[in-house]
Symmetry: C2
Subunit: 337 residues, 2 copies
Amino acid sequence: MDNQGRVRNITDLARLAGVSPGTVSRALADSHLIAKKTRERIQEIAREHDFRPNVMARNLRIKRAGAIGVLIPLGHETGQHISDPFFMTMLGHLADALTERGHDLLLSRVIPTDPHWLNRVADSGRVDGVILIGQSDQLAVIDTVAARYLPLVAWGANLAGQVHCSVGSDNRKGGELATRHLIERGCRNFAFFGDPIAPEIAERLEGCRMALAAAGLADKLAILPAHLTAETAHPAISKWLDETGSSPNGIIAASDVVAMSALRALAEHNVAVPGEVHVVGYDDLPFANQTVPTLTTVKQDLATGAAHLVDLLFRRISGEKTASVVLEPELVIRQSS
Amino acid sequence: MDNQGRVRNITDLARLAGVSPGTVSRALADSHLIAKKTRERIQEIAREHDFRPNVMARNLRIKRAGAIGVLIPLGHETGQHISDPFFMTMLGHLADALTERGHDLLLSRVIPTDPHWLNRVADSGRVDGVILIGQSDQLAVIDTVAARYLPLVAWGANLAGQVHCSVGSDNRKGGELATRHLIERGCRNFAFFGDPIAPEIAERLEGCRMALAAAGLADKLAILPAHLTAETAHPAISKWLDETGSSPNGIIAASDVVAMSALRALAEHNVAVPGEVHVVGYDDLPFANQTVPTLTTVKQDLATGAAHLVDLLFRRISGEKTASVVLEPELVIRQSS
DNA sequence: AATTATGCAACAATCGATTGCATTGCGTGT
DNA sequence: ACACGCAATGCAATCGATTGTTGCATAATT
């Protein structure tokens, strides 16, 4: 094996080059303290032996990690799998934005039953900061940690009196937009699909109610507290369609995943969309543009959301105490309404 | 600030407890070398001060990283974004399987232009092993690294003479399954949507050709080399449908993402599925069950695939020289055919 | 009482790199 | 010829933990 001559660390390389380890370190960092000739010779040897200094040792010494922890707290919603499209889309954008800044992305297990789940990552010393995708029902824990641990940002709602820095869209306004649009389309009978146990969903529902109240339609709303997974949403919606005699003609879904399930259930019941029923989703995930019919939805711009999260995080890493950001939701009108 | 009394390392804690750092280390590891009384006292102090030992320092000493690098080499397919549903689904399963084993997942930037993209991660010292999601056009690089770096596994094709360990489905067989199914459904005129520049796609196409040849329909195949992103696939398919006078009645899509685009394009051209045209996808991503109509597809069981990848990787980490795994593809019949 | 055994904790080397400070060697000014 | 300055490199402490070895009491044995 070539394991014999393998250069495993800076000291091996130093021996090979006939210099001290310190010199090698500086040479590889291209420090001007080392003569150009020596520097290039050492770099050449390093290249020949395919040597790359150990990142962990380096990080330990200079006290930075070069990685950002990304956590998805699932809380009570145990059914919600990590491969949910929403999380994954957000994760993709974060990966892009972080690697753009030369940081890696460390995805860690989340055990929200243990109150230390967040501390464990924050204090592990292997991340320079933490991004949470969603707050779940862990607001108390998050705020406690945020009070002492600066480099922490979360995607989600921005509630009054909140300690931690968050980025999210104005859910109330989003719910309002969706509902007003349906009213304009002539709907007079509404249904909201989504479980208001999550604060974000509750806000969307509230926006929906505000819009209906403003139009004098406050009593025309039915609520189906469907869970956010496609697997549970479809049967619930299907059963509901079967049982309900007078079906609504305007459906507000709490997420695109739920909306997609609704579209399918409606198709199976031979209900024309948007002919008989208008449907609006929430999120504008990539597939919203690929459904049949394509989905009208309230866009949460996850790309700029991710960009904000990363930007705020790095400002916090350098000590700044940033404020939360609330993004404007935007109605994207497609075929389903 | 409470930064004054904050316990930042094992030495601080040792001072507080009036013992040596080594004793603290052993106490926190619950070593029986330390008297039970002392051990519990130290653990109590650690708990009070919310102290958790620095993972990086620990890893440096015991020479393990506690993390697995997960890379997505995109190669030439620059358009293919990291948030592609296929990658994300796989990533979700991997995250679950890895955290199950107490390892974190390090998602790193992939620059396939630099021939050292893989070495950089493998030799960084911050991962115990590497999982590649896909091989792209980097077979040469992957095999070179695999020859000397054992803990490396890849999702993808299993080609003859391949050095590295891979897990993937039998693409040829999958293509065959899909095509035979369409033949049984009465199709006589076929189209394959997908770019055979990727080895996996090429194998699927070959399987398709074999099935057609066996049925004496070898000359009834049109190929539309659509790229694998939804954004590029839809217009291409749409244009193709416009231009082609005699449309096929059996469509084999190289992936579910392409199939979904095809479904939409067909719907917009008022072509009934499965009435006039039968469509089969590939992958069985979660959304395949949510399309309208739901998608018949060749299932690659990504959950067991991920489980295999992780299992093989850990066996390689402990020195075993594992062989590749080829999974049986399975036809999942739904509404689109 | 002297000796051996045993339990507990301290000491110090180590993982692999970084970096402030000390040292060496060479050229130059006087 | 001597001192001085500066450039180039070596030395050694450091980051924060782990762990083999050693030392010191106290308990058990003869």
